[in-house]
């Protein structure tokens, strides 16, 4: 059971206080997109062994969604940050680079 810190209210809490929401930084494809684009958006989620970016909601707390950068192998949490961004903040990327040189995830590295 993970411990996460909600970047919105600042509370550090047990996993049971949060609700997982799958992969972070998805780009929504709507009407007008190709079948491949839409299929990719809806179904092709990455499930890497290592650095991963996820959506979480502080469901039994402040109710806000946020993102977590963590390692799926060691369970290390590199940091959490607001969901209202299209890419991970630089300080999180720097922290991952320090711990996992040469990492990459989707278009980020």
């Amino acid at each position: 059971m993970l411990i996460l810190t909600c970047p919105c209210c600042g509370v550090t809490a047990e996993e049971t206080e949060f609700h997982p929401g799958g992969e972070a930084h998805l780009t929504r494809y709507g009407p007008g997109s190709s079948d491949d684009e839409f299929h990719g958006y809806l179904f092709e989620k990455v499930n890497p062994k290592g650095v991963h970016f996820e959506r979480w909601r502080h469901a039994n707390g402040c109710g806000k969604w946020f993102h977590a950068a963590r390692c799926t192998v060691t369970l290390e949490v590199f940091g959490t940050y607001s969901a209202q961004t299209t890419e991970p903040p630089q300080h999180i990327k720097d922290k991952i680079s320090a711990k996992r040189p040469g990492w990459s995830w989707r278009e980020f590295a």
């Binding site: 996993e15 494809y29 009407p31 369970l75 290390e76 969901a83 209202q84």
Partner: protein, 1003 residues
């Protein structure tokens, strides 16, 4: 025979006898006994039958690793199967019974399997019961189920109480032996907040039995002194009878405290499950002795050497008068020496090592014990009790050199560190070739949120077996754990200890080394699941080379003991059969809990009323007082109907529908979800959420809307009212309120976070009452001066009114097809309004109705119900709801998905009405059959029933269903077979059965 010695037993209080029964026999033990030691003291060596061959089995171990001695403990509301006698403390009045035999423990018919063992090899069930296929369900399964399983499940409700306890510590030390005590002391002295837990009732672990000197004195002195020091530290918590059950992510740890097992009538919970967050965990969990694999090693009387020593020293019990010791290491000599010093006979020590033992061996020889080096046991004689052993050359194939008479055999195949807790959360192991054991790899510890290791092994659990090394190692682990949690360890040294120097172990995985097939078929690895050396070898030959596959094929290590005794031996046999080193074969995964914990402790207080809080509407008490037959809807309780005295449920439902259609019904609709959506972008937001256009809705008006998920599937529906330019009130289904609110927030926060919209779930802030039926306007007009005429409040409009002196909001909407209003007032005034409406409605025969009448009336009108007509695979287009899907909007959630090829497939099943030809009611979920069969030989289908009721209004069965090309097949007759084979024929009709033109609601 096994018996109580005249003296000794360091854990006993001989002055306090305790009476207990085993299989109805009255027996007596003393305070301090475990059930195991008390049974042995009464010469009850035979305690159970094995799982597959029903072989007679006795106690093997003295602790949590016991595979054989499982009993059904207690009676009725306190009965619990599969309890290990070795970890059950004796109390006065204890009752227990052995398991897995018929008709009796002494004479068991199932033992015939043992004679057939040659025909029941590994994978027997897989091989035998595969053909013919039709036999699976009705022949094989009942037979296997009858013969499978150990204890029987309890029949009565558990009468005890259980609880959870949340705790936070810097350092948790698991295991209260000398290593755990020293580690806790080192961490506690550094100022860390420490919990030290021990699974047995006693501190000190094996040290008092095994001997040695700490600071020049017996280990008891160190134990007492350290315990006193720990008790004096305010930052240290001590708990006995508490097991570390499992280690999980980020220092989460389950502690299983058996509070009341040993004192069943004491006040308080029986078990307490500690849900702990630990900064650091030190596993000082000791080690478990391995059996040796020789023929007949399962005969009652063959026990672990350490267990025989434990029973003698701790409980004053001699397992036999003449005990042969067989070993591949020095530790077992301690058992021989202990027994000899107690005046018991040790006819021989059989040491498989050609070079024999060290200082302990010399001591044994000095005591006059015969030691045979390079020898092994070829065969154990006896069935229900050891009668003797045949010894042979360990290097040979098992030709007997000599028979030695004895009534007990003490075996030791070396020790395996208890690495379970280390491994639960990903800690890795390495194989120590010299010591022949898996040890925790300190470079690959389980890691926490910061990426650093949070578990440290100490003492024997870390592979340390020399007393001095144990204490040094534990002291260092305790200090390191304290340091890692921000404390400064004291600059002290670990206590000095000394023990006799030991010769190294020599791995012996099979005895003798070249044992014949006859011997290997009687050499047990897994006692509980009856897995022998020959089975694992067969599995390897048949290609089950992965340890995980071999485990499942043979069931090695899959019993309730989870292979505590058998895993390493089985792994070694498998590796040998595959001709590869042990580390290459690898281990199976250790999973929590360490030993089984009670299901009730997991449930804790979450039972009965505390299982889940029930949500109640403001009118709940009135309903309860007026015959409500409750239906759970989410966490709510809603009246299904209101039963009058002498009335059946069906009668009540039919009466409620008729009364509402004829005159006036009242529905408590308070559970309906109510979400306020407010802000300059609220209209734009709702246009994305609903398939309809909501932004064009005028203040004062209502619109029925459909909500889909991004996959295109219909997820919720309800009426949206525009309260003002900026504000909408969205009604959701009862079960959907929280989900839909979360759905809205998800999109607002993660996709359209720059939109100016605020949402609030106000479901519980309002009571809502449906006033339904031809007399509904009349009753409202009695209570209000506002204009509620057809013009004053038209269909699908709403307005604020004063009703019975209360400020209320009236929505003119209808889910029944009748003239109908939903009146909303603050929750606190709900009951008052309900009472006023009942009073004013009396002259119209006002009839409160429940959810079933609501369902019937909506089905008569062909209105869909989320969860009946939808199941997560249905899109609005399937339901003929095109009118509610805006063509003008560029986008809404689900729009793109609904354009996918599968969604636009013309053969998707579509909603129709179904009218049975004989007027009967179709079974819910019934399928309409089609010609032919599919590839699996199953009858083809062309539709299914989604809602079905007996309509009191029409006096016959009505139904809705999804049917292939349904809307184009009006008048076709479909066949719906019932489960009893009877076929019901139903005609496809429009899905509106009542008042097709909507004249009744529009007056």
């Amino acid at each position: 025979m096994s018996t109580r010695l005249a003296k000794g037993g360091r854990l006993l209080n001989r002055g306090k006898p305790l009476d207990f029964t085993f299989n109805g026999k009255n027996l007596r033990g003393v305070e301090g006994d475990t059930l195991a030691s008390a049974l042995l003291a009464n010469d009850q060596m035979l305690v159970g039958r094995s799982f597959k061959y029903h072989r007679p089995r006795g106690i093997v171990a003295s602790g949590a690793e016991e595979p054989n001695a499982l009993v059904g403990l207690g009676e009725e509301a306190r009965f619990e199967p599969n309890q290990r006698v070795t970890t059950t403390e004796l109390f006065d009045g204890l009752t227990c019974a052995s398991q897995n035999h018929w008709p009796s423990l002494e004479f068991d018919v199932g033992a015939i399997n043992s004679r057939l063992a040659r025909f029941l090899p590994a994978g027997f069930y897989y091989k035998t019961f595969i053909h013919p296929r039709p036999f699976w369900k009705h022949v094989y399964e009942p037979i296997i189920r009858q013969s499978a399983g150990l204890g029987k499940a309890p029949r009565d409700r558990d009468r005890d109480r259980y609880e959870h306890f949340y705790a936070f510590f810097d350092v948790v030390v698991i295991g209260g032996g000398v290593a755990g005590l020293q580690a806790a002391k080192a961490a506690g002295a550094a100022g860390a907040k420490v919990l030290l837990m021990e699974q047995t009732p006693h501190w000190g672990g094996r040290a008092p039995v095994d001997g040695g000197l700490i600071e020049g004195a017996p280990p008891e002195n160190f134990i007492d002194r350290t315990l006193a020091e720990l008790e004096a530290m305010e930052n240290v918590t001590l708990r006995t009878r508490m097991m570390g059950a499992g280690v999980y992510d980020h220092g989460y740890l389950l502690g299983y405290e058996r509070v009341g097992d040993h004192q069943p009538d004491a006040h308080g919970p029986r078990h307490r499950l500690w849900r702990i967050r630990a900064g650091q965990i030190v596993t000082a969990t000791g080690a478990i002795e391995r059996p040796l694999s020789f023929a007949g090693n399962d005969v009652p009387g063959v026990m672990l050497a350490s267990a025989i020593r434990d029973y003698a020293v701790n409980y004053g019990v001699s397992v036999g008068d003449r005990t042969v010791v067989v070993t591949n290491n020095d530790d077992a000599y301690r058992t021989a020496i202990t027994l000899k010093q107690l005046g018991l006979e040790v006819p021989a020590i059989i040491d498989a090592r050609p070079g024999g033992g060290g200082a302990l061996a010399a001591e044994a020889v000095a005591l006059g014990i015969r030691v045979e080096n390079g020898r092994g046991v070829a065969w154990v004689k006896g069935r229900k009790r050891v009668e003797g052993v045949e010894i042979c050359a360990q290097a040979g194939e098992g030709a007997a050199l000599e028979e030695i008479k004895c009534d007990a055999v003490a075996m030791s195949g070396g020790w395996s560190p208890v690495v379970h807790l280390w491994s639960h959360c990903g800690g890795k192991l390495y194989w120590d070739e010299a010591a022949a054991m898996f040890r925790p790899d300190p470079d690959k510890a389980p890691t926490g949120a910061d990426g650093e290791g949070f578990v440290r092994a100490a003492g024997a659990a870390d592979g340390q077996f020399d007393l001095a090394a144990v204490l040094d190692n534990a002291d260092a682990a305790g200090k390191a754990a304290a340091q890692a949690t921000g404390h400064k360890p004291q600059d002290t040294a670990a206590p000095k200890a000394e023990a006799k120097a030991e010769n190294p172990i020599e791995p012996v995985w099979m005895m003798p080394q070249g044992a014949s097939i006859k011997l290997r078929m009687k050499a047990w690895l897994d006692f509980q699941n009856d897995v022998k050396v020959s089975d694992v070898q067969l599995a390897a030959r048949e290609g089950f080379e992965s340890v995980e596959h071999a485990k499942r094929y043979t069931t090695l290590g899959m019993a309730t003991d989870q292979g505590k005794l058998s895993n390493i031996n089985g792994l070694a046999i498998l590796s040998d059969a595959l001709g590869q080193p042990i580390p290459q074969t690898g281990t199976t995964t250790f999973r929590p809990p360490y030993t089984p914990i009670s299901l009730a402790s997991i449930a804790g207080e979450a039972r009965d009323a505390a299982f889940q809080p029930i949500r109640k509407t403001p009118m709940h008490d009135w309903h309860a007082a007026h015959g409500a037959y409750w239906e759970p809807v989410g966490a709510w309780r809603r009246p299904y109907c209101f039963q009058r005295p002498g009335e059946t449920i069906e009668d009540a439902v039919q009466r409620e529908v008729k009364a509402t259609r004829d005159s006036l019904g009242l529905l408590d609709a308070s559970t309906l979800g109510k979400i306020i959506v407010k802000g300059p972008d609220a209209g734009r937001f709702l246009d994305m959420l609903y398939t309809n256009m909501m932004s064009t809705l005028k203040p004062g008006r209502c619109r029925y809307g459909l909500m889909c998920n991004e996959n295109g599937f219909l997820m919720d529906d309800g009426v949206v009212a525009r309260l003002d330019d900026d504000t909408f009130l969205c009604h959701t289904t009862t079960g959907g309120a929280d989900t839909i609110h979360a759905h809205m927030e998800e999109w607002l926060q993660t996709e359209w976070w720059d939109w100016k919209v605020y949402t609030a779930n106000v479901t519980e802030q309002y009571a809502q009452i449906g006033v339904v039926g031809p007399k509904s306007r009349k009753v409202l007009e009695k209570l209000s001066d506002d204009d509620l005429s057809a013009e004053g409040l038209s269909f699908m409009g709403w307005k604020d009114i004063e009703l019975a002196g209360l400020k209320a909001r009236a929505f003119r909407i209808s889910f029944s097809g009748e003239l109908s209003y939903e009146i909303s007032v603050p929750a606190g005034q709900g009951r008052a309004l309900w009472d006023k409406l009942l009073e004013a409605g009396a002259e119209f025969g006002v009839t409160p109705y429940g959810t079933e009448a609501l369902h019937i009336m909506r089905a008569e009108k062909g209105f869909i119900m989320i969860g009946d007509e939808t199941d997560g695979t249905v899109i609005p287009q399937d339901l003929g709801l095109h009118w509610a899907i805006s063509k003008k909007k560029d986008d809404y959630l689900g729009k793109r998905a609904q354009a996918r090829s599968h969604m636009t497939d013309p053969t998707r099943w579509k909603l129709v009405g179904l009218e049975t030809l004989d007027g009967s009611t179709l079974p819910d979920g019934a399928y309409a059959t089609a010609e032919g069969a599919n590839a699996n030989g199953q009858r083809n289908v062309q539709g299914r029933v989604t809602s079905t009721y007996h309509s009191p209004t029409l006096g016959r069965g009505i139904a809705m269903g999804l049917v292939l090309n349904g809307p184009d097949r009006m008048g076709d007759v479909l066949e719906f077979p019932r489960v009893d084979g009877h076929v019901i024929r139903a005609k496809i009709v429009e899905p509106i059965f009542y008042d097709k033109d909507g004249e009744k609601q529009n007056v």
